[in-house]
Assembly symmetry: C2
Homo-oligomer: 209 residues x 2
Amino acid sequence: MRAFSRDFQDDLRDLMRWRRDVRRFRADPVDEALLAEALGAFSLAPSVGLSEPWRLIRVDGAPARAAALANFEAANADALKGYSGDKAARYAGLKLSGMREAPVQLAVFSDEETDKGAGLGRATMPEMLRYSVVSALMLFWLAARARGLGVEWVSILHPDRLARDLDAPADWRLVAYLCIGWPEDNTETPELERLGWEDRAPRLEVLTR
Amino acid sequence: MRAFSRDFQDDLRDLMRWRRDVRRFRADPVDEALLAEALGAFSLAPSVGLSEPWRLIRVDGAPARAAALANFEAANADALKGYSGDKAARYAGLKLSGMREAPVQLAVFSDEETDKGAGLGRATMPEMLRYSVVSALMLFWLAARARGLGVEWVSILHPDRLARDLDAPADWRLVAYLCIGWPEDNTETPELERLGWEDRAPRLEVLTR
């Protein structure tokens, strides 16, 4: 089999450390060939029964962008109401979306009714279709970051409304909304950690049975 | 920021191509330090609101292994009943689990009630907790494969029954069951493709709105 060097293993760890959820993007456009290279990672992802259920809509036009941004702003305003005191002030101070700036924006769906794979592996866990889509977008995220591109996963959205506004087929379910572009700043530390929202766990715990 | 070379980008693509869902394992044990290195990737994963909801149970003891295997065998027998004719014969001929052989087996859960992250990013999409867990296990999968280890994701299981049999806390939801070990054979082609179950799509399609 193809072997990978210790240097590669170390670089891969660095890539994972530098991946980050990027919320601040420069206005520079993203080269289409570079984007296509990174998107190629989708097709290398595992999928349940080889169903390849990932479906992508690139959100480019002004009406689609406006609908997505309004969706985020409404969901974010609702979310703020769920906090009070210091936590509300902190939440209000967070920048939770790069949707105003990111040059490339992708809505990522799961095709919940795909025939591909003939149902294998998802009889007892139908969520495997969505999980396959998440697997694919993680590979894309790493491939993008290896090329210097930042990716943000926005989840403060009403998914059904966004699917309708983007005129997605009825069987598609929104899994993620991705903002993509050149990061304005770079850090190994998650923004939520730097701004005091939450800390990272000191270590991974594993129970044994 | 940390930059990554063209060689690294190419190697990363190779790693994704060679990742595979491995269902045939050699009996050789897995070195614990190597496994711990690969498991370190979990802590580098993105998680909604920095919630880090991944929870791991290592399935080691004979009773736990037997319960997991019986669970798979029951779910697999039920799944077979859903096919007929040629598709049933093909399904019956697939090896869909390495649970009898894999030296390391991990049940991966999402803590659905974690306070960590204070709910940020999951008010409208509570499934983000499970998606965070999938993100983390994908990083682990790549880190393992970069070290030559094969990983299999088994989803032909009754998740609630497995959680009970493993005495998992009530708020944990099973996301994946992973078999880990040294692959018996190595190929770039998914087993489901080689055995004629399903083909890979020729290319990724992206709609635009």
